[in-house]
């Protein structure tokens, strides 16, 4: 089993720390979800892990080999970025066909057959120039490159942003089949949390450049509960428990409770305990800064 290990990774842009002292281990054979608000540092972290941007501090290694300026490690990584055609970055005028050819040359384990199948399924018009393609088609191109790269560590930044719901479902199925066959490591950042939650084995939540949660998705969901009822009863039921995002209406109180090992909140006639979805948990943990 291969491992990509980040130790004390930080990135400073001018005066702003975009990524703060991140320790993270990624293992092959797992799909990770990377979630965070806009500007939380998701794309920065992915580009640091794939050596597309220099670190301010810390180290990134695959199986003990540094990633930075090390072709051996770079051959094992694919970071398929969102295609940005607004800037004059040289690829905007390129035809999709040529962009895919470039990817085929760049990634040593490129699977041409898989790429052709995805181009077909997503109905990508490969004769189009990148700047003339719509958002959905650009997403499809980045997905095609990510999956066909066959890289052991593959990072996808907002892969489904431009896709309609049918194309998204197709993407998740293709991802799961590629994953089952190959046991590669995938890291997927997304804002569409709910539909992706079940695909992630582990979820990494980033807030202001720091990792605030990194654990098995189902276990996290299992230990987060909404507790509501009469204020005093809720306070009693949750005393000693980590709570977030308290909301009051009159005498009623609702909190998000995050239970540690062994903690349990019993539902009774005064207190209702309800499950939380990953999206609810995300809002509870990352939404506090916008609460009045």
């Amino acid at each position: 089993m291969s491992k990509l290990v980040c130790k004390g990774v930080s990135k400073k842009y001018k005066d702003k720390l975009a990524v703060k002292n991140v320790d993270l281990t990624l293992e092959s054979g797992k799909i990770y979800g990377l979630i965070g608000r806009n500007g939380a540092g998701k794309s920065t972290l992915l580009s640091l892990m794939s050596a597309q941007a220099p670190l301010t501090a810390g180290s990134v290694e695959i199986d003990g080999e540094p990633v930075w300026e090390n072709q051996k490690s770079l051959n094992r990584i694919c970071f398929s970025r969102e295609l940005n055609v607004s800037g004059n970055n040289g690829i905007a005028g390129m035809k999709i066909k040529d962009y895919l050819k470039m990817a085929a040359l760049y990634y040593p384990a490129w699977d041409a057959e898989l790429a052709a199948r995805l181009v077909d399924a997503f109905e990508i018009d490969i004769k189009k120039q990148i700047m003339k393609a719509n958002k959905g088609m650009l997403s499809a191109v980045t997905i095609t490159i990510a999956l066909a790269s066959k890289a052991e560590f593959t990072f996808l930044d907002e892969p489904v942003a431009g896709l309609d719901v049918i194309a998204r479902e197709y993407f998740y199925k293709e991802l799961l089949s590629e994953f089952s066959e190959s046991g590669r490591c995938f890291v997927i950042s997304t804002h569409i949390i709910e539909e992706a939650a079940n695909v992630f084995e582990d979820v990494i939540i980033l807030r202001n450049g720091e990792i605030i949660a990194n654990e098995n998705t189902q276990e996290l969901i299992d230990r987060c509960k909404y507790v509501s009822g009469l204020e005093e009863a809720v306070n009693k039921a949750t005393s000693g428990v980590e709570t977030h995002h308290a909301e009051m209406i009159g005498r009623a109180k609702t909190v998000a409770a995050i239970l540690r090992g062994g903690e349990h909140i019993e539902e009774n006639e005064d207190v209702t305990v309800k499950p939380m979805s990953l999206q609810n948990i995300f809002v509870a943990l990352c939404g506090e800064e916008v609460q009045q």
Binding site: K30, I31, E169, Y172, K173, L176, S177, F179, S180, E194, E195, N198, V199, F200, E201, T217, Q218, I221, D222, E267, N268, E269, D270, K274, P275, M276, S277
Partner: protein, 123 residues
């Protein structure tokens, strides 16, 4: 087999329950192979590890058994076992939920028993 997954309930529990329901309905029969975790993962669009967790719960409780290198199979007597377990769960969960609701409405146990006797419609 394909039913929608609910929100707010652990996915592996739902996988476990769906396989159980399929066994009760005769969709899956004794000594038959059930779909692989990769097949379940693709069908429900879930992580294979989560699907495996649901399947393993059924192996632990003796409802499925593993044939090395072939897959998971429905154990003999599985349907009966599921019925017994669901009965127990019905007592522990639904009945206590019922009692909680009754308590907050001030319904006495005797009244509740009467209600149940009358099939839910109060005289």
């Amino acid at each position: 087999m394909k039913e929608l997954l609910d929100e707010g309930k652990s996915i592996y529990i739902q996988i476990q329950e769906m396989i159980e329901t399929d066994i009760l309905r005769g969709v899956l029969r004794e000594d038959e192979r059930i779909p692989s975790t990769n097949e379940l993962a693709k069908l429900y669009i879930i992580n294979p590890a989560t699907a495996a967790k649901g399947v393993n719960l059924l192996v632990d409780s003796g409802i499925l058994f593993k044939k090395r290198g072939i897959g998971m199979f429905v154990a003999p007597g599985a349907a009966e076992k599921i019925r017994t377990q669901r009965k127990k769960a019905f007592m522990e969960e639904k009945i206590s939920e019922l009692l909680n609701e009754a308590k907050s409405l001030g319904i006495s146990k005797e009244e509740l028993i009467d209600m149940i006797r009358n099939g839910g419609t109060k005289q």
